[in-house]
Amino acid sequence: MTDATIVRATDHLIDAMVNDLRPVPRSAMARRLAAGLTAGALASAALLLLGIGARPDLGLVFGSAGFWAKLAFALATAAVSVHAAARLGRPDARIHGLWLLPVPFLLYLPVGISELAANPTSQWLPLLLGQGWRQCTWLVLLLSLPVYSGLWWAFRKFAPTHEQATGAVAGLSSAAVSAGIYCLHCPTDTAVFALVWYTLAFGAAALLGGLAGQKSLRW
């Protein structure tokens, strides 16, 4: 091909693009993100309810502060990380503002410390292990997979230029959402428990999400 033909090909491309033009609503990105997130969260909730079921005392714990604090920790982490991920979906995004991510953890931390302070040292291990520490992290990670898939679907139309950071923040978002869903099952309402095992799942999901994002988020 000569230079002139290649340049002519560019002209054809421009014509094709103009013909293909459809209006894009202002909220297109947010809508797509919400759609992916909702579909993923619903799949994850269905998996939980059909697979292992809700905790039997779910109706009773609605009055318990411990339950709501744990749920708030998960959902606040989900909110800040989804917000950060959404920003990273734009090509001209700069990686800053990520300092918000640990804020829910830091706000929840004093609750855990006060639990430790209120109990004798001999009770610390039972507080930490709660009921089901063996499965908690794994289940949160497992339930985060549908959410991560939903986010990944949304990001395929976005233009992240920091794939690894985007994947990591998306991984964190998906684990935080799935931790919120897992609250329907998780029988332990102490802050010490959630601060350790939920946060472990968040970290692992961020790590795995970063690794997965590196290749799969290229465009």
Partner: protein, 178 residues
């Protein structure tokens, strides 16, 4: 902000609302900018045109990621730079990304306009006094004494405004939260 940026952004905004004529004007104007961007950084002309086309297609398929509240030029060149890095990645050439950013532009529209936009953003963050002091001494080239006289404040006050303002701008550039 340059007039060029205003034009491009106006076309882009109208294109997002479905205005085909504005979109055509935008693509016509953006193509030579992209060509210049890649030509300066690549050896073969065929590679240049490939990347121009890839960037145009990305502009099209990723146009929902353009934020109407932000300038167009940095968005466009972020796509172009990504496609360039991707090209180097695929062809297994190693490239120093920092050098890519720092490459001195000779009458380069990209660096000039992006720097201009960045400067405007950074200045907007300062107090009016600091803004005036930095504009006068660092951009327009007046002396401290002239600036102080014009503003009707003392010379030490002017110096203080300049140094505090520069410090704040440097902190923002390094991405420190305020």
């Amino acid at each position: 902000m340059t007039a060029e940026e205003d034009n491009l952004k106006d076309w882009m905004t109208r294109a997002l609302d479905g205005d085909a004529a504005a979109y055509h004007s935008l693509l016509r104007r953006v193509t030579p900018l992209l060509r210049a961007f890649f030509k300066r950084r690549l050896r073969a002309d065929s590679e240049t045109e490939d990347l121009v086309q890839e960037s145009l297609m990305a502009l099209h398929s990723k146009r929902l990621t353009f934020d109407r509240k932000r300038p167009f030029t940095p968005w466009l060149y972020a796509i172009a730079r990504y496609k360039l890095v991707d090209h180097f990645r695929r062809s297994r050439q190693f490239v120093d990304l920092n050098a890519l950013d720092q490459e001195p532009g000779n009458g380069d529209f990209e660096s000039a306009s992006v720097a201009g936009i960045l400067l405007t953003e950074l200045l907007a963050d300062l107090t009016p006094k600091q803004q005036r002091a930095i504009r006068a001494t660092k951009i327009e080239g007046y002396s401290i004494a002239e600036t102080a006289m014009a503003a009707g404040i003392s010379q030490s006050d002017t110096k203080m405004s300049v140094s505090r303002g520069l410090k704040r701008m440097a902190a923002r550039l390094q991405g420190k939260p305020q």
